[in-house]
Symmetry: C2
Subunit: 330 residues, 2 copies
């Protein structure tokens, strides 16, 4: 059957509020550097008041990835929950303008659309403080069976495990994908997220995941080791496709028979690492959906990540398709 989409991404629909701050700001507000911390509505308001010159931009890890796939010229869809409020409309308008099909109906009651207060320090690191709001209302009813069945790869973010109803939703989405013989991709999302859900993530890997994304901290957290190599050996034993991202050290991509050790693409100045992993996933998934060799999938990931860290904001500012073509692809 001809598919309708290359990738359907499921995740939290979030609008990011970004600002440059110094390390002292993090210390003063008790914020863990480089991590994603869940906050409530009250703390979200406190942070919003403290942040000056903040930039508002649609985000959400899996949503960013869907936008990246579309920027490569891929056919992308996103499933996630917004409310019928101002931020919800911002999110919907922006993701559709990026070429991503977003058909989830906005909620008419309940909590507001999710927002993440992202603090970028001079070293390019970002610390995220996320108020999940309405995004956490995602449930099995939102898992559009027809869309999932008609898509090459179902992509699920680990962050969803922090949402009470999401487990049933994901189980349902994976069942739809498996029934249609589609591939299931999963990102570990965050080392603290791995800490909260390690055993569930491991059993998900063993039973359902075909493609895994993790950065160095996440894969070490999953296998409880301080040595990247030990985590890498565990990934090889698992034998699915995996992309392990390593910041300035590039990435390592593996499947049952191959290992590729890829250098980071050159970046003149790292401005903001927000979305680096999301865009890497976009390039890799686009490559897999189009049947490219494993090493080239990783290179597309690196190209997309390099673009997004060269400016503030979690989504590409230029066409990834054009960048890929400049690098000799397609």
């Amino acid at each position: 059957m001809q598919t309708r989409f290359d990738v359907v991404a499921i995740g939290h629909a979030i609008v990011d509020v970004l600002a440059h701050v110094d390390d002292a700001f993090l210390t003063a507000h008790g914020i863990a550097k480089g991590a994603m911390t869940l906050i409530d509505a009250f703390r979200a308001e406190t942070l919003e008041h403290a942040m000056s010159n903040a930039l508002e931009a649609s985000g959400g890890s899996a949503a960013n990835t869907a936008v990246g796939v579309a920027s490569f010229g891929g056919r992308a869809a996103f499933i996630g929950k917004v409310r019928d409020d101002r931020l919800g409309r911002v999110f919907g308008d922006e993701i559709r303008k990026s070429g991503v099909v977003f058909e989830s109906a906005p909620a008419k009651s309940g909590l507001a659309t999710a927002s993440s207060h992202i603090l970028v320090t001079p070293d390019g690191q970002r610390s995220m403080n996320t108020f999940l709001g309405c995004a956490s209302a995602l449930d099995a009813g939102d898992m559009a069976e027809k869309t999932i069945a008609a898509t090459e790869i179902l992509y699920v973010e680990g962050y969803l495990w922090d949402t009470p109803g999401a487990k049933a939703a994901i189980r349902s989405a994976i069942a739809h994908a498996k029934a249609a013989k589609r591939q299931v991709a999963f990102t570990l999302s965050d080392p603290f997220c791995v800490g909260r859900w390690r055993d569930e993530f491991k059993s998900l890997l063993a039973s359902d995941v075909d493609i895994l994304f993790a950065n160095e901290a996440e894969i070490k957290a999953l296998f409880e080791t301080e040595h990247f190599d030990q985590a890498f050996q565990a990934v090889r034993d698992w034998s699915g496709k995996a992309a392990l991202t390593r910041s300035a050290h590039g990435s390592v991509v593996v499947n049952a028979s191959h290992v590729h050790i890829l250098e980071a693409e050159p970046v003149a100045k790292v401005e903001d690492t927000t979305g680096a992993g999301d865009q890497y996933a976009a390039g890799f998934l686009y490559g897999v959906a189009r049947g490219l060799p494993l090493g080239n999938c990783g290179r597309l990931g690196g190209i997309a990540a390099a673009e997004v860290i060269s400016h503030l904001g979690p989504r590409p500012l230029v066409s990834l398709k054009a960048l890929a073509s400049k690098a000799g692809f397609g």
Copy 2:
């Protein structure tokens, strides 16, 4: 048969003359940064006059490795040529004091003992200007058959190819090792050296080498690619044991069935990268000679490299055996 040595290293016997200089010094003297350049006696004298506060210390790539093996508690021997002059005595005294057996007879006539004028810039890079002198008189007659036959691993430096008589000498040494069913290890030494001898190095790999050492620039030069991953794939196709060192990115070690991706050991401050590859080779070879798993051989290499780059000079200042034991080995 019980062996007498873990490693016998063959290379140029050189005394290093090290000094800290700025980039302007390199420019003024037309010196290629980070490379090893061969110079004649006249230029050696010119540089010596221009260098102030120079430190004299025995060096030579393979000799440094032999000293590193001994520092791990391994049984090491060195074969190389000095003259019966002051520097020749310095070289012989220092290597023997390090616990390395050095039985090559000093030449009684001809060129002086080799010296390398090493300029260390503030970024920790070193640029080497080597006057080979007497070291280039090495010939087949120096290849002590009994020593080689009684040693687990014969280790040969690529630099030797710059010495006219050395090819016959190496052929003879390898023949002794193969006849005794010993392993042959080889380092590419320097990207410019690879450029000079690419085809010969490739045929040596195909026919005689069991263990290969190369840094990123060298392995890319060998396989004429700008992508580390392409060089890595070529190394995997070759299917011997290889250790590819990547400076701050750590190292990758492979054999026919395994790949290990190792992080660099932490170093408080990189003082001088002179000898990093030599000491990495020492740790790796010691591990192989003692039958350690491949990944652990690489970790020992990383531990030794981290020690030597933390201070000026190409040989360890503290016991590598003690450092290995602190890291949980032996």
